[in-house]
């Protein structure tokens, strides 16, 4: 039996829309941005799980919910079988050793007034991973070598501004992995980096995941990179998962019309096979007031009738653990 590290059931996060004083007097209904609206999935031990979708689909919010940076509105999160949906800050703290996050922008996620050594020592001290100063230093050196910032003594005393973008993201990665977590979320870890160094950072993450047997949630809008990173992928649209399966299933046999459109829209680096002849129209609607029924019906090219406008399609297994939420497959 495969060990499940993260199990999410019907997770929701609604952000209240701020309204002016007068608006609150005249309007009785509080509006919500339904950033994440009922998602369920699980991540197994040592697995790389991709969460893909356009901006505004709720993928970042999902990632932040999983590492307890924000409180969910509804639903359940289980970590190694334990319910961690609602915890007090004191209860969360020991868990921080177990799950970590790598943010998108390495130019903003590192404290400019701390040296690389301090940045990496901080989690070790706060989470009481090490017992002595010697052990602390050894750990910091070890992780620096692990992320190929070699020799470590050359980087320990440097400040973030003395590093290139790629080196910064290595430091951010090292900071996440230094406490040997069981689960790491990486939120678009390479979108701010130059193309020629993206692969390097991703390969580094892959090797760390393999070494520590970490479960990894890779959040991205770039399906071409996700294809070469992930074991399984879930496609999100307006706060919902519309399709989920192994990477090959998603790439070679996409079922949901949105997944198909998304994969067709990915630019192909081959001038002999050009893609852009068929493109779906429009842009992602507002998550404050998502379309009723299937949220994709306003842009869908395979619209099958009234049911798409009135009834929300459930996420069902169509065989081989390939899940899709579309009325075409549920009837």
């Amino acid at each position: 039996m495969v060990e499940t590290v993260i199990n999410v059931k019907n997770l929701r996060k609604w952000f209240p829309v701020k309204m002016g004083f007068l608006r609150t007097l005249f309007s009785r209904t509080q509006l919500f941005v339904k950033a994440v609206d009922g998602v369920s999935f699980e991540i197994r031990k040592g697995e790389i799980f991709g969460l893909a979708g356009e901006s505004g689909s709720g993928k970042t919010t999902t990632g932040r919910l999983l590492v307890k940076l924000i409180e969910p509105t509804d639903g359940k999160i289980f970590f190694m079988g334990k319910d961690i949906t609602h915890l007090t800050p004191e209860q969360v703290k020991p868990l921080r050793r177990e799950f970590q996050i790598v943010f998108q922008d390495p130019y903003e996620s590192l404290n400019p007034r701390m040296t690389v050594g301090d940045i990496l020592a901080e989690p070790l001290k706060l989470l009481k991973v090490v017992e002595s100063e010697d052990e602390l230093e050894a750990k910091v050196r070890e992780i620096l070598e692990e992320v190929q910032l070699i020799p470590p003594e050359e980087f320990i005393f440097r400040y973030p501004h003395e590093l290139s973008g790629g080196q910064r993201q290595r430091v951010a990665t090292a900071r996440a992995f230094v406490v040997s977590p069981k689960f790491v979320v990486a939120d678009e870890p390479v979108s701010m980096l130059d193309v020629s160094i993206r692969a390097e950072i991703l390969n580094l993450m892959l090797s760390l995941v393999e070494k520590f047997r970490t479960s990894f949630l890779y959040i991205t809008h770039d399906l071409a990179l996700a294809r070469h990173m992930c074991d399984r992928i879930a496609i999100m649209y307006l706060g919902k998962i519309v399709e989920m399966g192994t990477t090959d299933q998603i790439v070679y046999e996409p079922l949901h019309p949105y997944t198909k459109a998304l994969i067709r829209a990915v630019p192909v680096p081959d001038p002999t096979s050009r893609r852009i002849e068929v493109v779906i129209k429009g842009e992602i609607p507002s998550p404050v007031n998502p379309p009723p029924g299937c949220r994709f019906h306003t842009r869908c090219q395979e619209y099958i009738g009234d049911i798409c406008r009135t009834k929300e399609p459930p996420l069902i297994d169509v065989g081989n653990n390939h899940y899709v939420a579309c009325h075409k497959y549920s009837g």
Partner: protein, 320 residues
């Protein structure tokens, strides 16, 4: 003769610590109706090339050498007033990077496009200009009834379309699109590229597409020019360049773009990072990151040589 011919363009930025050698000896031609992709990493000088073409460099930037021949006239030696009256918008127009922020938020889109039209063609009446804006909106696939909207009322994709409409306002021969795809979602990005392709055919436009994303160029352009650290390292037609890239940097860059349709593989990258252009490495600027670097690469700057008709490479490995 080519519509635009850039010859040995060299542009430096003056800073307190010396000259930043942003663009060095860049030459290429652009024909009428042709799309050229200018690719490279951030800081390789692609945007500086674009700004040099319309002489819109920041005050510390300077074209040191070279010629930019547009329709038989050299833009570099042309006085500023003439560049403003004849070249910008009418000859060459630029779609700036970041459509999200390039429009003025306090004016309507109609106002901004009319301003551009009337500044370059004072004889056009307000009424005619308004009519033109509506036509432009139709051309780029926007609803003509929304010309008087403000930028914040448009989505990202619509703003990008409005920027394209504005660039077309004075019927230019060449459009330079600086990173037209970034900050847009894949589907919207595909929509915008499709629009640019159809405009190119409809209006017989020449396009220079500046981007770090080679796959965008492979979708839309006929020619590809790859820049590295201020130098043009390879130039040729897109199909040959993708099939048989000759410069090690081009090879690495193409490898760095995974194809979604191929089997799962280990991703490849180019080790190291681009050099500081205040003090670029001697010889070939790519040699510190090149796995084939030889003795000569450290000393001698490779010249751009034609290896096949229309395929030029600057590398000591190629062509003796």
């Amino acid at each position: 003769m080519a519509l635009l011919s850039v010859q040995n363009l060299t542009t430096y930025y003056k800073t307190l610590r010396g000259y930043v050698k942003a663009v060095e000896n860049v030459s290429f031609d652009l024909e009428k109706g042709e799309a050229l992709g200018l690719a490279g990493e951030s800081g390789c000088g692609k945007t500086t090339v674009a700004l040099s073409l319309i002489k819109l460099l920041p005050s510390n930037g300077e074209i040191i050498r070279g010629k930019i021949i547009f329709k038989g006239q050299d833009i570099v030696s042309m006085p500023e007033s003439e560049v403003r009256d004849k070249i910008r918008w009418k000859g060459i127009s630029l779609i700036f990077q970041g459509a999200m922020n390039a429009l003025n938020p306090v004016y309507t889109i109609e106002y901004q496009i009319i301003e551009a039209i009337r500044a370059h063609d004072p004889n056009v009446s307000k009424k005619e200009a308004k009519e033109r804006v509506r036509k432009l909106f139709e051309l780029v696939g926007l609803d003509p009834s929304r010309t008087r909207n403000y930028p914040h009322e448009f989505s990202g994709g619509m703003r990008q379309r409005a920027m394209i409409a504005m660039a077309l306002a004075c019927n230019p021969d060449i459009i330079i699109a600086d990173e037209p795809g970034t900050a847009l979602d894949v589907i919207v990005q595909a929509q915008v590229l499709k629009l640019m392709k159809s405009l190119k055919e409809k209006l017989n436009l020449s396009i220079i597409m500046i981007t770090h994303d080679l796959s965008l160029i492979s979708e839309t352009c006929e020619k590809l020019a790859v820049m590295y650290a201020g130098n043009l390292v390879e130039l040729g037609d897109v199909v040959t360049m993708f099939k048989k890239p000759l410069h090690p940097y081009t090879q690495g860059l193409i490898q760095a773009f995974p194809d979604i349709k191929e089997k799962k593989r280990k991703m490849e990258s180019i080790p190291g990072s681009p050099p500081n252009l205040l003090d670029p490495p001697p010889g070939c600027r790519f040699h510190p990151r090149c796995k084939y670097a030889m003795e000569v690469c450290r000393k001698k700057v490779p010249e751009l040589k034609e290896v096949e008709k229309g395929h030029l490479v600057a590398c000591h490995l190629v062509g003796g």
